[in-house]
C-alpha cells in the first residue's frame, strides 16, 4: 500500500507477466541502468528499491519482480497483496504473453487493491521485425480496462524510466481516501500498523 509522510511516498510495486517477457530486465534497466542479453531466470521473486523525485515529493518504490512460469502463479498474491502499483509486462513478439498479460489484469482487477495503478508494458519494442502484437490492439485493450499503456525496451531503454515516472505521478491521486485534505497527519508508526493489518 502506498503510504505518505512528509511528501515522501512509499509504494509497493509488483511486476507480473509471462516467463521471458522481460520483467527483470525492465527492473534492472530502471534500477541500475544496465541490460543483460541473458538475464538469470527469477525464482519466487526478487526485491529492489528505487527512489524517484516527482515534482516536490519523492516516491520510494519497493519493487517485487516475480517469476513468470505459470506454476509460480500460486505465489503471486503474496507479492501483489497491498501493492499500490503493478506493471503487467508482455513481449510484443509473443501473442501468448499478451494473452497471459490480460489474465493478470483480470486477476488484479478482482483480487488486487482497488486503487492500484496499473500499467501495461509491451516490452522488446526494439524487435519491430518480429512483432506479433500491434500497439493499437494493446492500446485499445488498455483503454477499455483503465490501464495506461507504453511500449518499452529494456535493451534500448526506451520508455523504461518513463513508465515508472508515470506511475509515480499517478500514485498520490490514486490514494485520495488516505489524504483527503492534503494535510499529512499520519506518522510512521501508525502507517506501519495499518500496513500490517492489511497485509497479514
Amino acid at each position: 500500500m502506498a503510504t505518505i509522510g512528509n511528501n515522501n511516498l512509499n509504494a509497493k510495486l509488483v511486476l507480473l507477466g509471462d516467463m521471458g517477457a522481460g520483467k527483470s530486465s525492465l527492473v534492472l534497466r530502471f534500477v541500475k541502468g544496465q541490460f543483460l542479453e541473458f538475464q538469470e531466470s527469477t525464482i519466487g521473486a526478487a526485491f529492489f528499491s528505487q527512489t524517484l523525485a516527482v515534482n516536490d515529493a519523492t516516491v520510494k518504490f519497493e519493487i517485487w519482480d516475480t517469476a513468470g512460469q505459470e506454476r509460480y502463479h500460486s505465489l503471486a498474491p503474496m507479492y501483489y497483496r497491498g501493492a499500490a502499483a503493478a506493471i503487467i509486462v508482455y513481449d510484443i513478439t509473443s501473442t501468448e504473453s499478451f494473452t497471459r498479460a490480460k489474465k493478470w489484469v483480470q486477476e488484479l482487477q478482482k483480487q488486487g487493491n482497488p486503487n492500484m495503478v496499473m500499467a501495461l508494458a509491451g516490452n522488446k519494442a526494439d524487435l519491430e521485425d518480429k512483432r506479433k502484437v500491434t500497439a493499437e490492439e494493446a492500446r485499445l485493450y488498455a483503454e477499455e480496462n483503465g490501464l495506461f499503456f507504453m511500449e518499452t525496451s529494456a535493451k534500448t531503454a526506451i520508455n523504461v524510466n518513463d513508465i515508472f515516472y508515470e506511475i509515480a505521478r499517478k500514485l498520490p491521486r490514486a490514494q485520495p481516501a488516505q489524504n483527503p485534505t492534503g494535510m499529512v497527519l499520519v506518522d510512521r508508526p501508525a502507517e506501519r500498523s495499518q500496513a500490517a493489518s492489511c497485509c497479514s
Binding site: 538469470e40 506454476r71 486477476e107 500490517a196
Partner: protein, 402 residues
C-alpha cells in the same frame, strides 16, 4: 561425454588456484572480482578473498582427515548403504554396532564437509541415488536421452529458454557444451516425471549437480533422488503445493525457535516466504556462495530435507539483533541478502545451523507437513475456484472480448 566431464573436473580440482584478481591495492574496501572453486565469478573485498583462501585450506585439511579414515576403516567405508543417516526409519537395533559407529562418525564427518574430489561418489551413495540407479537397466539414461531427442513439449521450450539464463557467464555452464549437457539432464527428467516436467529453479539445481558430479548421468540420478526421495513431495509440480507446505512449516518453526524475531517480522508486514521460497526451490544455490551451498548439500543428501529448515533458521538466527532493528520490509530483505551472499565461510553458517538451532527430526518435519497440508490444499483450491470464476466472467457477454 565422460571424457570431457572428467577433464573439466580436473581443471576444478588440480589446477593450481591463482586468484584471477586485479588487486593492486591492499585496501580492504576495494571490490575485486575473482573466480571461486567452481568457476563462479565472485565480487568481494580483500577480506572476502582472505576468507575464501582460508576455506580452501580447510577443504584441503578436511581431505586429509577423510584419507586418514580411509586408511584406518578401509577403502570406501562410507559407501556401505546401511550407514546413511537419511533412512531414519531403520531401527537402530537392526544395525550392527560397527555399522552404527560408522553412521555416527560419517554424520559428524559430513557436517564438516566432504572433500570436493570425493563428492561424486559419496553423494551418490548417501543420497540413495546409486541404489535408485541400480534398480534400472544400465542403459536407462542413454536410452531415455535417445528416446526424447528431437521431441518438443511445453517443458522443452521452457528449458531451452532458460539454458542461457542459468548462471550466465559461468566458464563451462554458459558454453554450448554446458547448455547441451544441462538440456539433456532437464529434458530427460521432464520425460521421466511428467507431473514435474520442468519447473524453473531446477535449472540452477541441475547446473550445480553437473559441476560436482563426474558424469552427466550421475547428475541426472542425483536430481531424480532429490525430487523423488529427499525433498517434500510436489515441491516442483503443478502449483508448487509442496513448496507452500514447506513455507508454512518454516514459518511455524521460526515462531517456535525465534518467537521475538518472528513476532517483530510479522508486525512490520514481512512474510518469511518472501525470501525463503527461493531458498527451498533452488536449495540455496542462488543465495549462498558455491562452496557454502555444496556444504549444505553434503548434509542435505545425508540427513534429508530437515537440513533446509536448519539452514534457513540459522540465517535468521545469525542476524537476529540486526533484524529486530529493521522497520521496513525492504530493510529486512537487504540484511538477509547481504548476509547470504557473504557467507563465504561455510562453518559460520553450519555451526549455527546445527549447534545453535536445536535439533529437528525428520519425524517432526513430517508431522508438521501433515498438519499444514489441508490448509495449503484449501487455499490453493479456493484460489483455483476464484480464477475459474474469472474465466466464466470472460465468457459473459458484457465483458470485453479478447
Amino acid at each position: 561425454m565422460f571424457g570431457t566431464q572428467a577433464s573439466r573436473e580436473i581443471s576444478h580440482e588440480f589446477q593450481p588456484q591463482v586468484w584471477k584478481t586485479s588487486i593492486h591495492t591492499r585496501r580492504a574496501n576495494i571490490t575485486v572480482k575473482f573466480q571461486d572453486l567452481y568457476g563462479f565469478t565472485v565480487e568481494g573485498n580483500v577480506d572476502d578473498v582472505n576468507i575464501l583462501n582460508e576455506v580452501r585450506e580447510k577443504v584441503r585439511q578436511q581431505g586429509r582427515v577423510w584419507w586418514a579414515l580411509e586408511a584406518s576403516k578401509g577403502a570406501n567405508w562410507y559407501l556401505q548403504p546401511q550407514i546413511s543417516s537419511i533412512s531414519e526409519g531403520i531401527s537402530v537395533g537392526s544395525l550392527k554396532l560397527s555399522a552404527l559407529a560408522n553412521t555416527i562418525a560419517l554424520k559428524r564427518l559430513i557436517r564438516k564437509g566432504i572433500p570436493p574430489v570425493l563428492r561424486p561418489k559419496v553423494w551418490l551413495s548417501i543420497s540413495g541415488a546409486a541404489k535408485k540407479k541400480s534398480t534400472v537397466p544400465e542403459s536407462y539414461y542413454d536410452d531415455l536421452i535417445a528416446a526424447v531427442e528431437g521431441k518438443v513439449t511445453a517443458a522443452t521450450k521452457q528449458i531451452d529458454h532458460d539454458l542461457p539464463r542459468t548462471f550466465p557467464g559461468h566458464p563451462w555452464l554458459d558454453t554450448p557444451e554446458g547448455h547441451a549437457s544441462l538440456r539433456r539432464v532437464l529434458v530427460g527428467y521432464s520425460f521421466r516425471d511428467c507431473h514435474v516436467g520442468y519447473c524453473q529453479g531446477l535449472n540452477y539445481v541441475a547446473a550445480l549437480l553437473l559441476l560436482v558430479m563426474k558424469t552427466e548421468e550421475d547428475a541426472f540420478w542425483m536430481l531424480a533422488v532429490l525430487l523423488e526421495n529427499v525433498l517434500v513431495n510436489d515441491c516442483y509440480t503443478d502449483n508448487l503445493s509442496g513448496c507452500h507446505v514447506e513455507q508454512r512449516v518454516f514459518k511455524d518453526l521460526l515462531a517456535k525457535k525465534c518467537p521475538t524475531l518472528s513476532a517483530h517480522l510479522e508486525s512490520i508486514g514481512f512474510d518469511v516466504s518472501l525470501v525463503a521460497t527461493e531458498w527451498f526451490l533452488c536449495l540455496f544455490s542462488k543465495s549462498l556462495p558455491s562452496e557454502t551451498t555444496m556444504r549444505v548439500w553434503d548434509v542435505l543428501f545425508n540427513e534429508g530435507a530437515k537440513v533446509l529448515f536448519h539452514v534457513a533458521l540459522a540465517i535468521f538466527r545469525m542476524k537476529e539483533m540486526e533484524l529486530l532493528m529493521a522497520q521496513q520490509v525492504g530493510d529486512v530483505i537487504s540484511i538477509i541478502q547481504r548476509t547470504t551472499h557473504h557467507l563465504y565461510e561455510p562453518d559460520d553458517l553450519l555451526t549455527v545451523a546445527f549447534d545453535k538451532v536445536s535439533s529437528l527430526t525428520t519425524n517432526t518435519i513430517t508431522k508438521q507437513r501433515k498438519k499444514q497440508e489441508p490448509a495449503v490444499m484449501a487455499e490453493l483450491d479456493q484460489r483455483l475456484r476464484r480464477l475459474n470464476s474469472l474465466k466464466l466472467d470472460e465468457k459473459s457477454p458484457d465483458s470485453p472480448k479478447e
